[in-house]
Subunit: 159 residues, 2 copies
Amino acid sequence: MLRAASRVPDHGKRTPFRFLRIEGDARLSLGERIAARSRARDPDASDSVIEKDRLRFMFAPTIVTVIARLGPDEKIPEQERLLTTGCVCFALLQAAQALGFGAQWLTGWVAYDPQIRTLLGIGDDEVVAGFIHIGTAQCEAPERERPDPVALLTDWTPE
Amino acid sequence: MLRAASRVPDHGKRTPFRFLRIEGDARLSLGERIAARSRARDPDASDSVIEKDRLRFMFAPTIVTVIARLGPDEKIPEQERLLTTGCVCFALLQAAQALGFGAQWLTGWVAYDPQIRTLLGIGDDEVVAGFIHIGTAQCEAPERERPDPVALLTDWTPE
């Protein structure tokens, strides 16, 4: 699954990404720390908010954190390396679904919080592109509204 | 093809992208302007460099410019909207290839140059995620080295 996900457009072959797996008991350990951090961020948070944060990684057996590595690069713009990493997330969703799993790309405040980043070992020049939750789907994902591509299309013409 | 490409992960259903098609005679018109801009950027550029820029959009009959729209948003981080747009590029490549076309995601200095951006009508809060060149493949794309996913994977453990 990770092999398929690693097969992405990658200008300059930088491999500007890595995977951090969260699985088994580590999921609840992480959730407890996230809940504590959530409480510290907002002492007035309701119990249900804290509980939601505690159980954040309990809905699927495996979560693959896809991390962009964006250190200095003389040739390839950071934007392109970030987009490569986003493609990894997308390809991982597709690979999981092709194998019959359910999969969901989630972020939320935990992807950006400095303390959670430290807890996950995210470096200063790294960003969390997404948490890809992978498991057995409990129901069919409802179809969502999709954009009308015709409305998004224009043609370039010389003025 | 654009319908398939528009079917991407999109946090908050922002549709943070649009398509600008460059096709037919517009390709060389654009190339002439790019060549002039290339000469202005570097008066010492060799003729072959200028010629390469002039013919930049002549290798495929259709080029779809995928543009991220990154205006202010209270809820969805810019990073996530940019990644959605990158997924559009990737999905467009996949859709084109699934239909038997060859397709390539290119950027280069023209994606970032202020004057070319203006020429293409790219807004201040927009960025070019990629030019997707679509046509009939003249040869099989050579396989490239791919990363070893095992080397990219670690497990999170509570310290």
